[in-house]
Symmetry: C2
Subunit: 760 residues, 2 copies
Amino acid sequence: MNRRAVLSSFFFAALSFAPVGNHVIADEQPLFGYSAESSRAERQWEEKLRAIPSPENLRAYMQRLSARPHHVGSPYDKDNAEWIAAKFKEFGLDTHIEQFDVLFPTPKERAVELVEGGPKFAAKLQEPALPQDLTSNQRDEQLPTYNAYSIDGDVTAQLVYVNYGIPEDYEQLDRMGISVKGKIVIARYYHSWRGIKPKVAAEHGAVGCLIFSDPHEDGFVQGETFPSGAFRPPDGVQRGSVADMPFYPGDPLTPGVGATKDAKRLKVEEAPTITKIPVLPISYADAQPLLAVLTGRVAPEGWRGGLGITYHVGPGAAKVHLKVKSNWDIKPLYDVIAKIPGSTFPDEWVIRGNHHDGWVNGAEDPISGQVAILEEARALGELVKSGWKPKRTIIYCAWDGEEPGLLGSTEWAEQHYDELRVHGVAYINSDGNGRGYLRVEGSHTLEKFSNDIAREISDPETKLSAWKRQQLREIADAKTSEQREEIRKRSDLRIPALGSGSDYTAFLQHDGVAALNIGFGGEDQGGIYHSIYDDFYWFTHFSDTDFVYGRALAQTGGTAIMRLADADLLPFEFTDFADTVQTYLKELKALSQKMQDDIRERNREIEEGVFKATDDPKRPLVPPTVETVPPHLNFAPMENAVDALSRSAAEYRKTLEHANANGGAALASASLAEVNKMLIESERKLTNAEGLPNRPWFKHQLYAPGFYTGYGVKTVPAVREAIELKKWQQADEAIIVVARVLQDEAALITSVAQKLSGGK
Amino acid sequence: MNRRAVLSSFFFAALSFAPVGNHVIADEQPLFGYSAESSRAERQWEEKLRAIPSPENLRAYMQRLSARPHHVGSPYDKDNAEWIAAKFKEFGLDTHIEQFDVLFPTPKERAVELVEGGPKFAAKLQEPALPQDLTSNQRDEQLPTYNAYSIDGDVTAQLVYVNYGIPEDYEQLDRMGISVKGKIVIARYYHSWRGIKPKVAAEHGAVGCLIFSDPHEDGFVQGETFPSGAFRPPDGVQRGSVADMPFYPGDPLTPGVGATKDAKRLKVEEAPTITKIPVLPISYADAQPLLAVLTGRVAPEGWRGGLGITYHVGPGAAKVHLKVKSNWDIKPLYDVIAKIPGSTFPDEWVIRGNHHDGWVNGAEDPISGQVAILEEARALGELVKSGWKPKRTIIYCAWDGEEPGLLGSTEWAEQHYDELRVHGVAYINSDGNGRGYLRVEGSHTLEKFSNDIAREISDPETKLSAWKRQQLREIADAKTSEQREEIRKRSDLRIPALGSGSDYTAFLQHDGVAALNIGFGGEDQGGIYHSIYDDFYWFTHFSDTDFVYGRALAQTGGTAIMRLADADLLPFEFTDFADTVQTYLKELKALSQKMQDDIRERNREIEEGVFKATDDPKRPLVPPTVETVPPHLNFAPMENAVDALSRSAAEYRKTLEHANANGGAALASASLAEVNKMLIESERKLTNAEGLPNRPWFKHQLYAPGFYTGYGVKTVPAVREAIELKKWQQADEAIIVVARVLQDEAALITSVAQKLSGGK
């Protein structure tokens, strides 16, 4: 088949924008980005692929990989890496282990004690083994309960309860006239990534931070606790990293470069992402005696948890001693990298990954995802043996050190930055898996692509396509009839943007490689996250017990990788993307307007005496003060850029339609390889070299984790966060930067369209 | 002063619609309904009145009246009535005690036991005495914890937790596939009047009902419990009536007639307002062991309380034995009635009331309100001694038997029905009092009047007027900028309509006498409602400890009574009223539209398969079934009637303005006495003889307690409840009935306007 034939027929697929819902796609309708001929072949190969993954294998892999604790630096972490590498090799992939050396603190001394203001009490800081749960008693190999990258410290101070410990909680504390300066704060998990809590506490002058799992969101309030049920038992503790990952993820000592043996390293004392104050996570059994003796103001309604006590804010007589001391060692990371070389475009890389390290036995997190990609790799290996030849190079990765700070993926993406900037087509991540709905988040240019994949996957429970089930879920959850109508009528379901919290971060936000994060969930209850109980016993009793959702994930990931690897024209689509960027612009304008309105209204209420009049003298609050009303921002550059983006996206789409209408004659001069190279650039163009203001590691101008949310995405972060932080000049400047990036993107898309239509 | 002079000058006041906010009203601006001259005099008398009430007296009265339990039929109930009567006499009022004889059951046997499915447990059903709280140990005189008018019963059955036990909770139970047929339900207090819970449970086939106070809304979750704090302690129980008061209040044996010695009585077995199943209230200490052993489905999120356990719905192995047996005795009621005769219009009655009976010592409920009206009576008595002569007859009432079912006020209002229909100008109720904001609810024709009164009262904490403080509170609480702007710009603050729950009910809803309910509150925490701890110790430690809000209530009630009693022209105002009725019409149309939209949407989702697709097979729900889309209702008759009402209200207002403009010459022929008589009719016109569909005792066509809310008002109840219950034909019929009533009201207002402008 010559190139011209390819060009003229694959545009058929480009026309198929209409949703196909739950129906079987007729063989005749080519896949998006495929010629009729290659589409037929692709469908057959994909069907073969989806028949291969086996729940029995997934179960066996999980049992093996979660049999012992396998955190960074542990013997079983290395053992697992080697076993995974052996498996990839067995499946026929060209595999090696790539090692990095990173700072990974492990606890030496830990103490939380009530020393004044109540009955003396020393927190247990220990999760008990359970007789029926055989791996829960591997104490010698388990990491103690702690928060990695807490600075060492030994402090004794009054205790203040700060709810979730996020900025708005401190605004409420200010109104209550309560300062945490010189105090130890106790915050509950949730409503932000955990690393935000000590960061914000330290910004407000606290000297220590405890983080506890409240049964309200993570324990008996939700349902039966383990081992009777899936939820967190009284002594269960959520371990986890508290490094300042929204500043930069990865090894704290080697920002921006791979942590190879001889990399230039910061000193530990210089590492900016280590916390400023000592932090420990505690169970609700350990938290209860501390919270119960707090006095002072009764906690506001939204601050009350499920402990069966009156929650108070403090401070009072209660004084707590907190001690954290770590071994600050350099530990090896073992990233397993396995390749299937591309036959046509070997320099275009389609990458798939999941991490293999866990906090303890980590059956759900991460092994439930890791086993699915092992089965994908096995299935792809089978296809290769049967004669399948992917056009592009496929790379399967099993990352180490995700838990402490996305270490393995970040170091690899930093180390291979230059290659990835040239060769990276897309990165598809998973990180655990469970019962429920297929959730896809990621680059909006892959929205249509990911919708197409979801339409191919059968939900094991309902036998609907994963796409259809998700659509019906979104209809059920929609809050307004407008939302429902959009969900019903729009060709594709919108996919949320990516913040952080897993290994896609460095690819998307540092390297500018288009990324997706996929996994099933939403019907998988759980309260064993980052505890010793996240193990094979728990998973096979309370989660995807028959591994059918594991199989579905392998089918989804495998199909997606194949379809990207085999496409004639890379399936990036820009009209959905431009549509979504328009909504971000609208949000930013509305946010800016709302801040003006809110401040203007509050000033008026201050002048009217509202706060004075409604203050209860027996429970007085500090009144707010008059604030300058924010200026109007100049959104025009961004408005023009987003319009340009919409025009170019329409042009590209029209070019595909037009090319198809006249049989592709006008495309004779177009080079498919060149066009694909340009399409790969479309995500890169959304980054800039300077990165975000004050956090240059983050290069992407559309997606970033929030500086004060940690996982949660902030789209158009430079503009949005400047507005949120009331930095008006910075917001105006950021609008110009983002506008330039979007103008460049629009120009690129226009060039692609011109190239396709034979121009240039 | 001749009548003409009066007529020409008091219309000045009618023009003063603009809000005067917090400013001192110049003596020159006459009060609404007053001539310039009588306004000046009135102001002086009112100022004298407001100087009289004394916190010390309020405190002393409370200590005396709450010194012993004083429920219906108790020795101290009679003693209090006689003491109050003696006080009224001492103040110079013409006082008598009016006795009725009513059915009042008191408990003989009570038991709640866990007999299967957990450790054997017998509920304590007893509130312990506290050493520091001296009246808490009067066990011999205390009524045990129980719900009055529970039918006798002795049942043993599985237990089901039904959340608040309101109709929507049963819809959720249906979705969960759980039936309460043959079961005992356990419901938490709140979100409906308590009598609704056994009523709805019985409608669904339950055989018994427990009602408990959950610490989430009434206990330690809210704050420190008594005696450390104001909130409900573990063994505290909320007593209360469970008679079907939304069917009719008052003595269950004498609906519609006064329960005099020789009244015709139903047999106890025939009384329709006694519950169909046995009911007992329990503390959260008694509820916890029952709820803790429930199994089955985990309670949905909104159903989870504060007990520090996993809430389950049941049923399961847990079986409960519930026994209730009462003495079904006839007991005497002692209503204290005290009068100051009117000098000019003795046949126009201005009535003020609060009840004197309590469930136990009842310091907060009702004595904190009762003592304020005692001080009002003393103050008015002082004024009379100084030469003040109210134009109208003033009647002060201290009702007995409010707690079991508004008995004293209802029997009196039934007994004196014919007189009240002729003479009743207005009834102003209180029922307890606390720290905080002046709250006024009632007849919308008295909205402007009550706003004017609130402007005269100084808030003890902020020294703002009660009106201004409330306005600023409403600005602070408003959810939208439209709401805020209305609050800022509208002349008067809207007052909520009255449902039920206190002694205004029979006056307003049976007799058609315009009514207001007034009291301060909102900063008074509490968890002693209807328990032995509602006593002098609690009140003087945790509520209006210095009785300054008691004084403010006496000032408010006294001013309101005086201003009604002395007015030249009764201060009913109809434009605010018509404006509010317009909003009710809008609500009804929106409700009808929403029910169509919701059912249409749900049907669509059923057809799309939303419920099937989103069902979790491990926790399956019963899917809803397709339902006929409701028909369009014919709102036109009501639309025309409400328009007529608005026109007539505008006409009345214009007449006042015009009459003023030409010096009142056109009014020469108008008779003030006649006009006032017509104005009194304005509330009567809103009732009809047939009453509401299926509950004829309730005559008012604009306000009623909801049949399934109990206290909460349903405005335009015949129409609104028909729509809610999906009785479309009944809704269409009710619209016609309500339209007729409103047309009659409009005609009356037009007649008043014509009479005033000299026509007839």
